[in-house]
Symmetry: C2
């Protein structure tokens, strides 16, 4: 321990010697989570926002070429022999018939290669425009975009415990994503505002994304007319023509696995695809229930369902942006509940990422998933066991990247900030290696030599401020100081941090004319129908 004490002394000395003007100047342009961001958070200024990640590292390819080809072949067999049901949608069945598929009732069977051929018009990468052009993201290729959790009916914080979510919670989660430096996207249903009638919520949700954030966002998919409302609201912000020829919303279209698409999802898909808005076609799979129990079986079914859904977007509008989605969990043998952070979903993720690359379409999967009831060690392990495969596997669009708790039943305030810290680390990691002369540090090695230390050398002084990712959550103080500060665990520290962020939040500017148009539209539409709560 004597040695660490020496280091601390030398460290303070070297910090004290540095000219004030040099502090906080990033030298490597890596963006993320550094001293500047922390200072900004503390001072209440808006933190510098990371752009989406442009990965400088290759994807981790685990499944062999032979394995990938086998799964593609099996998926074609599923499409050809078993087929996919398109339910209660005569238009969809007609489109498939015209395209050369065999339609038998609601069951559609596809000649081998048909879906794959149709997918050729899907853009390999596309821009999702934000109302603030600096926040627009690129979805596809080497890019990775982080969005918050989607769908929980409950929220949790340390004091209030677990309770039903409200529109106030919804706005808070939008604000936290807006503020966290490593989050690139505002997401969609960051929680279900159950205090607002179910047939009117989508207005308040889309408005919250547009008003309290300037990040790109997701539209409503719970009914075709709600998708249409989302498009109408986007047009008030971006303009009619812009929306029709660009992409300003990305939308979650889940398959009703196994091998079925229902009318609600097909209806929303058609609205968005027709208006050139992006659809994420996602088989949502609890292995052993909605698909076979084996990873290769899950991948085969996922690929078959996704191929059919993606191809369908191109029947609606060739060239419409679409994303191959995969959501797969394992199952608890005790409770039948979905489980996360286990090896099997990670194997599925890596394999599906490779299959999407072979298909040449953007890929959505992963996030910071967990089954834990609290942001504890279980939550963290399960989240990391999902997030690292997400980034190493090369996922393009990452829903549930922050805030997901208890199998997606709960949006956790503390976990948003814990997860966002991990996202910052991933952003730095994805920057890869600095092989420049400065990165090689040969001058430092020559200057210091054997038996000395690097704390005071020129290279260390010049790079120290930006050399290491600085966590907003981790406590690396001495044991004594940590005890003196209340011996808090990460959950408690995060609970304090999210409140500070909300207290520091400043609403981004929005043209008052646009705001007025939005609120008028919402009022008119909401007044046009009675409240419904189911």
């Amino acid at each position: 321990m004597a040695r660490i004490a020496d280091i601390e002394a030398a460290l303070s000395a070297s910090d004290g010697n540095r000219p004030e003007g040099e502090r906080g100047r990033g030298r490597r342009g890596r963006g993320s989570g550094g001293a500047e961001a922390r200072r900004a958070l503390r001072s209440g200024q808006a933190a510098p926002k990371n752009r989406f990640i442009q990965r400088q590292i290759p994807p981790y390819e685990i499944l062999s070429e032979e394995g990938l080809a086998l799964i593609e072949q099996n998926a074609e067999t599923v499409l050809e022999e078993i087929g996919i049901e398109f339910r209660e949608d005569a238009e969809a069945l007609a489109l498939w018939k015209d395209a050369g598929a065999e339609v038998d009732g609601e069951r559609v069977r596809f000649p081998r290669g048909l879906c794959r051929k149709l997918c050729e018009t899907i853009p390999a990468s596309f821009t999702q425009h934000a109302r603030n052009p600096e926040r627009s993201v690129e979805i596809g290729g080497n890019n990775t975009v982080f969005a918050p959790v989607y769908g929980p009916p409950f929220v949790r914080d340390l004091e209030g415990g677990r309770r039903y979510a409200t529109i106030e919670d919804f706005r808070n989660f939008v604000k936290l994503a807006y503020m966290a430096p490593a989050m690139h996207h505002s997401g969609g249903t960051v929680c279900e505002p159950v205090d607002v009638p179910v047939n009117k919520r989508h207005f308040d949700m889309v408005y919250a994304h547009l008003r309290y954030s300037d990040l790109p966002f997701m539209g409503s998919v719970t009914a075709p007319e709600r998708a249409a409302d989302s498009v109408a609201m986007a047009k008030l912000v971006f303009g009619d023509d812009f929306v029709e020829t660009n992409t300003v919303m990305i939308n979650l279209i889940n398959a009703n696995s196994p091998m079925t698409f229902d009318a609600t999802m097909l209806g929303a898909l058609k609205v968005y695809a027709r208006h050139n808005q992006a659809c994420i076609v996602t088989p949502f799979i609890l292995s052993g229930a909605m698909a076979p129990v084996t990873p290769v079986g899950v991948m085969t079914q996922t690929l078959a369902e996704a191929l059919a859904g993606l191809a369908f977007t191109q029947l609606v509008r060739p060239g419409a942006p679409a994303v191959l989605g995969s959501f797969a969990s394992s199952m608890s043998m005790q409770s039948g509940a979905p489980t996360f952070g286990t090896p099997e979903p990670a194997l599925v993720l890596y394999g599906m990422a490779a299959l999407a690359r072979r298909l040449g379409v953007p890929f959505r999967s992963g996030g910071s998933l967990c089954g834990s009831k609290l942001p504890d060690a279980q939550a963290a392990h399960e989240s990391s066991q999902t997030l690292l495969p997400t980034v190493f596997g090369g996922v393009n669009y990452v829903l549930h990247a922050a805030g997901w708790l208890e199998g997606g039943l709960v949006s956790s305030y503390a976990k948003v900030v814990i997860d966002a810290d991990q996202l910052g680390m991933m952003q730095t990691f994805a920057g890869g290696y600095d092989l420049s002369e400065n990165g090689q540090a040969m001058d430092a090695l020559r200057e210091v030599g054997p038996g000395s230390h690097f704390l005071g050398c020129d290279h260390t002084r010049a790079n120290f401020e930006t050399a290491f990712y600085r966590s907003t959550i981790a406590d690396n103080n001495s044991f004594e100081q940590w005890e003196a500060e209340g011996a808090q665990d990460a959950y408690r520290r995060a609970n304090t941090l999210y409140k500070k962020m909300l207290a520091d939040y400043q609403v981004p500017a929005l043209d008052p004319a646009i705001d007025e148009a939005l609120t008028a539209f919402i009022a008119e539409r909401q007044d046009s129908m009675p409240d419904a709560f189911s």
Copy 2:
């Protein structure tokens, strides 16, 4: 939620229908953490022990060929221009002079390629024999071996908090590693038994590994004569000739970075290498203090130091087993403390793993490292952020795989079992994809078809028991049940589990004649010197 309820019902039904004789029979031979292990833990039987991991997945290669070659070239420049100091060891300097190095005082400079050439006699892989032959491990190639934390002076559990470690704690950690299915190795200084005189503790530590476990273990390195004592004790167990021609101990030889080896470490290295025991030559680096702040700089220095140390083992005894070690942490700018689970050490780990593969020698790095004071979300994230790179990068020998807390100052009882659960997941993951007909599950897809579910189908019934890794720590029960059971976090559950394991522990058999010889040897040696406490 209705859907999940259906699944639960169907699940219980399907479980109930299964013939009793079929339960618990592993079908895929993946080993780890499954139902059998859990039942064994509960029933107090010795759990089935996993063998070391034979990875069926490729390593994740992140650094380019160009980058790897550049670092190798720079490391040779360090060896040639700057050199390495071998302190207070005239024999070492003489060996280097004879080998063609330039010796200037204690500084040794190496013609380009000399160290690399000498390393050619290091075995690419070797067997470390355990006293129970079924527990012998293979170190190198595609294999990964997990060993516990090494070195902490403190221990922690939930009730006692943080306190100095004793020999009783030491024995407990040996017992836990012996019992945890996914731990393959007993390690070395699992904690520092500070209640035993410093000059006598190595006897009690080596004895504990030999008596309370039958896993392979590590010898003492704190003085050359203690290394000799370790070899003498190993000979009482394995026999003289066997030890001289096989490897039964692996030993941690740290460089005194930057670019220095001290007399203690060189002395221990020489003892072990002469007796054909394995040395892990590890530059121990806090970036910015013992090496430059940049990952590429850290790798350059690590490779140079390791090359010199590894080559030296071959001067002592050509063909002696040796392992390239890398331990690199980032640094807290607030406290100067080492930090873990950050992106920079992960980049170093992946790069060093690739450099070791190019050199053709086994590699040690990683583990479940963290800076947190508690087994909380910080500890878990940091541990996963180290462990996943460890496995994906292809580390062969993993020290600190379980129990490491607070920057290595603390051995944590609860964290041993939390980490061991993660190690089990890694073992399953490393098994890769099952591409067999059963893995492909085409029969299941054909049987079930669109809109139904897979719970009752033949394929699910036949595979369900072994399909998913079953965590010993995660709680996946309903929220209501979790609340009724005390709303415990993972730390609390783990604290209960480790006590149950210790209560269930059964000592492995040891030939009484050997035991007697060991205790007699220890008594004689311990009585031959006065106690020393520093």
